[in-house]
């Protein structure tokens, strides 16, 4: 187990280094960040001053070695635009994004799983057909459009929920969250639903196909013959067996929820790190983009690790030490 974890982190380190090199040189090719920082009416003199102050007058490889030297001293770079530590800026916004992603994931499971189970158990029921048709819509409608429709309907027309932003934030056990208040839930409901839409559809489809497959298996027939209640058959035997692919997929999808919440965060003005990334790319704020990539790569690796561990808990045949390799 320990060897497995260490090996995973060694791999992660390699990925981080590779990504940082790609992003560092990539952002340099795109354009000159000075033009994005100075005001439109800056004089040549001001532009040159800023260029010198940030070391952009040096060749790219010199800038890269400086960057490495700073990292060796524990300094991961300062945002050009905001001036503060880039990692700090991202970590400050991470709780908001994680909160949104977690709530979206919960929505995906509590909405998607029962619907998928139902559709799997009664595939010919008209409601099942409606659910499956709905899941196709969930896959194919663009997130930004759905987000705007949610705002138009629930916030502007009905006035039930606020259109934008995050509720009041409180700190609980060292974690900043807005989920302690009703207002917080009102704020998060629409963006989380919007972000979850695709995942709900995914869970419905996975749960449905899993259920249909499992309900024909011998152990289900045996349980039925033994006279177990349908509730127990579905709730324990089928559910436990269909959870493995769902947990795997959701684990991977959680990473993408965090990393690609950009659209939802922008539409709902959610103060998360996805929005920050988008702005940073537009402004060529290289240190922020590099730091973001580092954070997200680490996040992905950690999530995958947790999924692997969960996996072994759900299915005892899976062994992490990798004896069978």
């Amino acid at each position: 187990m320990l060897a497995f974890i260490i090996r995973r982190f060694a791999q992660a380190l390699f990925v981080v280094v590779a990504m940082v090199v790609i992003v560092f040189f990539g952002t340099n090719v795109v354009g000159d960040p000075v033009w994005m920082m100075v005001p439109g009416d800056a004089t040549q003199e001001q532009v040159e001053e800023v260029r010198r102050a940030f070391g952009f007058d040096q060749p790219v490889y010199v800038q890269f070695f400086r960057f490495l030297a700073d990292i060796a001293q524990g300094d991961f770079g300062r945002s050009y635009v905001h001036g503060g530590s880039a990692i700090r800026l991202i970590l400050d916004r991470m709780p908001a994004t994680l909160e949104l992603a977690v709530v979206a994931l919960i929505f995906a499971v509590i909405i998607g799983l029962p619907l998928g189970l139902f559709a799997g158990l009664k595939p010919d029921h008209p409601a099942s057909r409606a659910i499956m048709a709905g899941s196709i819509l969930g896959f194919s409608l663009p997130t930004f459009w759905v987000g705007l429709m949610l705002i138009m309907f629930f916030a502007v027309m009905l006035g039930w929920l606020p259109a934008t932003g995050r509720g009041p934030v409180t700190t609980f056990l060292g974690i900043e969250t807005s989920l302690h208040t009703l207002k917080g839930w009102q704020h998060i409901a629409l963006p989380a639903l919007n972000l979850a839409l695709l995942k709900i559809s995914l869970v419905i489809r996975l749960a449905r196909s899993g259920t249909r497959e499992a309900s024909l298996q011998d152990y289900v027939k045996f349980a039925r013959a033994k006279g177990l209640s349908p509730r127990r058959i579905v709730g324990v035997h089928i559910l436990k067996n269909i959870m493995i692919p769902i947990v795997t997929v959701l684990g991977l999808e959680f990473g993408s929820l965090v990393a690609f919440s950009v659209v939802t965060e922008t539409i709902f003005a959610w103060p998360g790190m996805g929005k920050l990334l988008l702005e940073s790319i537009q402004r060529l704020d290289r240190p922020l983009v590099v730091a973001y990539v580092m954070v997200v790569v680490l996040l992905f690796v950690t999530i995958n690790l947790i999924v692997d561990i969960l996996y072994s808990a759900l299915d005892p045949r899976v062994r992490l030490a990798g004896k069978s390799e």
Binding site: M36, P39, V50, A163, G165, T266, P271, Q282, R283
Partner: protein
């Protein structure tokens, strides 16, 4: 010149603008404002950017104020005197207190002016506003400014510098200021918090020298996405939004729940033409062979300007959220010319000029470059311009690029760091509220040592205009300077140094019952909001 009378007029204008005059009955209330772009810092000297300056104006005040038309008036200065061409004296307002209770004195001014060029890691410092000026304290409420050469824009420059407290802001960093440490000014509102990505909050400063401000608490929310901002207003999340999308402005002004107000902005949208090459890389004969750069011929430049149906662009693309122009600033500004007319739309005239220049009937091929997403509807405007040029026989194609890429290549993408493109669409805003900066940067002969032509991406050069501008910049007398600036503008426009298209409008939308005084400088201020 009687300075007192002029000062009085300025003060009156300023008060009418609503900057200094408090509401008679200030009811405790919160104002929520949706901004379209986010300030990068709460440090007023860190990043010279419109959203930063606008939020900073609530907490900090400069010596000189600009009203909604960017006319000058008194801020923390009570009067000024020009002692000679190189020396200015400013009397400071007495009995002004910082938010921490300490009095405002000349020491704070000196401290601020020393701080401005020394903000570490500043991506866009305000250094140029203090360069060449030496600030001296005469007594607690008098300062004297000595300049290396005559500085007619002294007041415009001082209007850009927010005064910080020598006591509270000593040794604080930009990060400290973002966190509220030392974010102490004399302004009508006190700093409460700045949450990047989310909001900037201030509360009323009951002790303000201009009286208690109108709003108890003001929250600025950062709502970058256009439809989101409009939805936030309609759903009541915010009371006011800035930068109303052109597509929504007409609809919102008909909505009974909303009041819309707008002002012409100090930004000009224009075309810049390649003037420094005999063979311009994006101009070719129709068969693809190289031709002599036709943009060096005045008749061609005139023809291009005549081929533009500015009114159609303003009506159809900008949905009337703009006004077409033939010069650099709206003529409500000082230093603009009353003589310059908007070039008439005349396809036949344009074709005739091209024929005279020997370019018709053969015609030629041209590519216009521009940013996508930097200015409102930028891509659509370039496409419309291309169609209009095609109509007079110039086969025009369009290439738009992300702003970061576009400005780099448009400024230094060619060989030896020269501008790369043959024709570009760009915008320019006149932060100083008069045309000298625009003339100097866009149309002045490119010369990095002299600081002229910084944004002259076409390398236009006209000796007569340079001379008039240099003369204007050495003239302290307002009237004489403005006449020179108007003349310089006329010369540059006659020579078609750039092709001006329009000034966009800055538009605000507010909940019914609130009134926003629209400003030309795009600042969204709680001080401009009345019930």
């Amino acid at each position: 010149m009687t300075l007192t009378r002029r000062s009085l007029a300025l003060t009156a204008a300023l008060l009418a603008g609503g900057l200094g005059l408090p509401a008679v009955s200030a009811v405790a209330q919160e104002l929520k404002i949706g901004l379209s772009s986010e300030p990068s810092s709460a440090d007023p000297h860190f990043h010279n950017l419109t959203p930063n300056n606008a939020v900073a104006r609530h907490v900090f005040e400069p010596l000189i104020f600009m009203d909604e038309f960017q006319r000058l008036g008194f801020g923390l200065a009570q009067s000024w005197k020009v002692l000679d061409d190189l020396t200015w004296e400013f009397k400071l307002k007495a009995n002004v207190k910082f938010h921490d209770g300490s009095p405002f004195t000349a020491d704070d001014v000196i401290f601020t002016m020393n701080r401005v060029p020394n903000v570490p890691q500043s991506p866009a410092p305000k250094t140029s506003y203090v360069r060449g000026k030496t600030f001296e304290k005469v007594d607690d409420l008098t300062i004297r400014v000595k300049t290396a050469k005559p500085e007619p824009l002294m007041l415009n420059h001082l209007a850009q510098i927010e005064i910080m407290s020598a006591k509270a802001a000593a040794n604080v960093t930009t990060q400290d200021l973002n966190a509220g440490k030392g974010t102490v000014g004399t302004g009508p509102y006190q700093f409460v918090e700045f949450v990047p990505g989310d909001r900037y909050v201030v509360k009323a400063n009951a002790e303000h020298w201009g009286g208690k401000p109108r709003w108890e608490r003001v929250t600025f929310r950062f709502l970058k996405s256009d439809p989101t901002r409009v939805a936030a207003l309609l759903s009541g999340d915010v009371d006011i939004i800035e930068n109303v999308p052109t597509a929504d402005a007409a609809r919102l002004s008909k909505d009974a729940r909303v009041t819309v107000s707008s002002a012409l902005s100090n930004r000009i949208i224009y075309l810049h033409m390649d003037r420094h090459r005999e063979d311009s890389p994006f101009i070719k004969a129709k068969d693809g062979s190289a031709i002599k750069n036709p943009l060096n011929d005045l008749r061609v430049r005139k023809a291009l300007s005549m081929a533009l149906n500015r009114q159609a662009i303003v009506e159809r693309i900008m949905e009337n959220e703009a006004v077409s122009t033939g010069q650099l600033l709206p003529d409500t500004y000082a230093g603009t010319s009353k003589k310059i007319k908007i070039p008439a739309y005349d396809v036949d005239g344009a074709r005739k000029l091209l024929t005279e220049a020997g370019l018709l009937p053969a015609g030629f091929k041209l590519t216009i470059h521009g940013p996508n997403g930097r200015y409102t509807n930028d891509t659509k405007i370039i496409e419309a311009v291309a169609q209009m040029f095609t109509r007079i026989g110039i086969e025009t194609t369009v290439e738009t690029l992300p702003p970061a890429v576009f400005f780099t290549r448009a400024s230094t993408g060619g060989p030896n760091r020269t501008p790369e493109f043959s024709m570009i669409l760009a915008g320019w805003s006149a932060g100083t509220g008069e045309p000298s900066d625009t003339l100097k940067a866009l149309l002045g002969t490119f010369n990095p040592q002299a600081g002229t032509g910084a944004a002259n991406r076409g390398r236009f050069s006209n000796a007569k205009m340079d001379e008039l501008l240099a003369k204007a910049l050495a003239t302290v007398n307002d009237q004489q300077r403005n006449a020179l600036l108007a003349e310089a503008t006329e010369v540059a426009m006659e020579d078609v140094g750039i092709i001006p298209i329009f000034f966009p409008k800055n538009t605000w939308a507010a909940k019914k019952g609130l009134k926003v005084t629209a400003r030309t400088d795009e600042y969204t201020l709680a001080m401009s909001v009345a019930r």
